[in-house]
Amino acid sequence: MSRFDGARLTCVTFVVVAVCAVAACDPGVSAGNAEGDGQADAVSSGQLPANAPSLFGFGSPASAARVALWDIDVRPDGEGLPSGTGTAAAGKQVYEMYCIACHGPTGNEGPNDRLVGMEPWGDWPGTRGIGNYWPYATTLFDYIRKAMPQNAPGSLTADQTYAVIAYILSLNGLLSADAVLDATTLPAVEMPMRDRFVPDDRVGGPSIR
């Protein structure tokens, strides 16, 4: 017998043993069988190995300052809004400096998203502008602070952000020209389509929804 044959035999033996071990220990691991979902092991079932410690302790504690550095989201209740103020008049200047190239002179011309939409919808919104589709005004702050302007995301100050939101909302007929937006007044802006949004009612099974 050559060395090659010996190596091959060893390989075959190993495979047989491995297959037996899998079959004997955990039939659920065999892909495509009828039990479980075919690929759940102990860990992916949400169960850690039996000898796992109650706490691994990997990673570093996130200090309050560290959290504050990245915790920039804004919720509908206003949580996360920074101090600062802005008016539509100031916002027009911000808009014309940073936004007009992508959203057009009146927020309607593109080439990127149309910002203004006031026509109500019956069957289906022909446009999904801010005034006739966005359910929460706070979303504007969350999104603009993080992702706008597209060529320099995250570069606007809090005052600039409040101001440009005030301007966009005034273009949508949702805010008077002299209104002041801040951490208190922004969450209070009533968005017309808010009650149109409903949770997912699809549940699987035979129904088509």
């Binding site: 860990v43 990245w70 919104p125 359910p135 979303t139 993080k146 389509m193 997912d200 099974g205 929804r209």
Partner: protein, 421 residues
């Protein structure tokens, strides 16, 4: 076989010529017959048994004649590219052909510099580096990821084209073996506080992609994935770590994940309010429609393939559901009048694509072929009329209706849904 190779067409042309020769009575002698056979002999290229081959290499490459490619939409920060479904076998998508959908381009993140912060309603706010995440017990699972806008290009009567490929239609679908740490392991580690019910997942890209995810899903089968088909996850899929929510719409599977905040309410980000919501016919808009319902598509034969002759052809395709396992795929070769079950290729995995096949003897007559998937909840992939009845005609996300291909008497295959309206 790539339809663009033209072999179908050229063989068809050859058959036409040959049958013409026979019909014209020109095939009179044995010499004529030999000459005809000679025409059919393979083209003789280089004899590779007479030339030494290449040496080993550090990185493998596709054969020069194999050029599967993604189909990009526009070159823009917010854009997509689609997987060439018609060119693939089995269920795994090669990582470099996995579809893309970015809202702010692909960031050039260095893994050693990347941090994932988990905080909010937790006992131990923690910053994890990649080395930390990789030290936790690992898991690997095969799952599809599909953009909920997949198929949206042909969602209404006015825009029902015939010249779409499976890639152009449904190529925002890919399947990989994902490896990483289960999110439940990490949440256990930071200690979720009572009262928590949601989390916000946030990406480290220039769109700072943000989606709210119910805590139940996070504790169930969500994964922080850093591996894709055996190697590090690709930059286009979220390198060095992404959120994987098996069976849920692609957008919520936040890539380049840098922050998870445990909360008691959804954050109502742009992508879960003004986008990725589904206007319905009653004037409402469905929100948090995460689960991808059962769906299937025949990838062969499909546009722009041309069946060169009647006879035996194997219909092939993919089926998948975000609600668990596919239990059956039915095929109709007569415009949806009668249906027969297709063969399903094992393994049939939960929230993964399944390859189906059906051997079909085409009689050469014009028809429309369709597939419909059935999942373990009893859900049957609906017709487009059923979806319109349920939702109206203008919902552009979650278009999981049955796909159809028209086969002409000339063998030309086109997208055939318009035939059934």
């Amino acid at each position: 076989m790539s339809p663009k190779e033209g072999s179908g067409l050229s063989r068809r042309a050859w058959l036409a010529t040959t049958s013409g020769v026979i019909a014209a009575g020109l095939l009179k002698t044995q010499a004529d017959a030999v000459s005809l056979v000679a025409q059919e002999a393979p083209v003789v290229g280089q004899d590779h048994t007479k030339v030494p081959g290449r040496f080993v290499s550090e990185l493998g490459q596709r054969a020069p004649g194999e050029r599967p490619r993604r189909l990009p939409r526009t070159q823009a920060l917010s854009s997509s590219s689609r997987t060439p479904l018609q060119d693939l076998h089995g269920i795994i998508t090669p990582a470099d052909l996995h579809f893309e959908r970015h809202h702010g381009g692909v960031p050039n993140i260095i893994a050693e510099e990347h941090e994932l912060m988990v905080h909010g309603m937790v006992d131990r706010p923690t910053v994890f580096r990649m080395a930390d995440l990789k030290r936790y017990p690992q898991s690997s699972r095969i799952h599809f990821v599909e953009c909920s806008g997949n198929g949206g290009g042909v969602y209404n009567r006015d825009r029902m084209p015939t010249d779409v490929t499976p890639q152009a239609l449904d190529g925002l679908l890919s399947t990989s073996e994902w490896s990483g740490v289960m999110l439940s392991t990490i949440l256990r580690e930071v200690g979720v506080r009572p009262g928590a019910s949601w989390l916000l997942a946030e990406g480290g890209d220039s769109a700072v992609m943000s989606r709210s995810v119910p805590l139940d899903k996070a504790m169930d089968d969500a994964m922080l994935a850093y591996g894709q088909n055996g190697e590090a996850i690709r930059p286009e899929q979220g390198y060095p770590v992404r959120l994987l929510l098996p069976g849920w719409e692609g957008n919520a599977n936040v890539k380049w994940l840098r922050r998870i905040e445990v909360t008691d309410q959804p954050t109502m980000t742009r992508e879960e309010t003004s986008r990725y919501t589904d206007p319905l016919k009653d004037g409402t808009a469905r929100q948090f429609s995460f689960v991808m319902d059962a769906k299937s598509i025949i990838t062969f034969p499909s546009y722009p393939y041309v069946l060169p002759e009647p006879g035996w052809w194997e219909i092939k395709g993919l089926a998948w559901t975000g609600r668990g396992r596919i239990t059956r795929v039915d095929i109709s070769t007569d415009r949806g009048v009668t249906w027969v079950p297709a063969e399903l290729q094992v393994p049939i995995l939960s929230k993964a694509t399944v390859r189906f096949r059906h051997l079909w003897e085409w009689d050469g007559r014009e028809t429309v072929i369709l597939s419909r998937a059935v999942d373990e909840t009893g859900y049957v992939q609906p017709t487009i009329q059923q979806l319109w009845e349920a939702r109206g005609e203008r919902t552009n996300y979650h278009q999981n209706h049955q796909r159809a291909w028209r086969i002409g008497a000339d063998g030309v295959v086109t997208f055939g849904l318009g035939e059934l309206l």
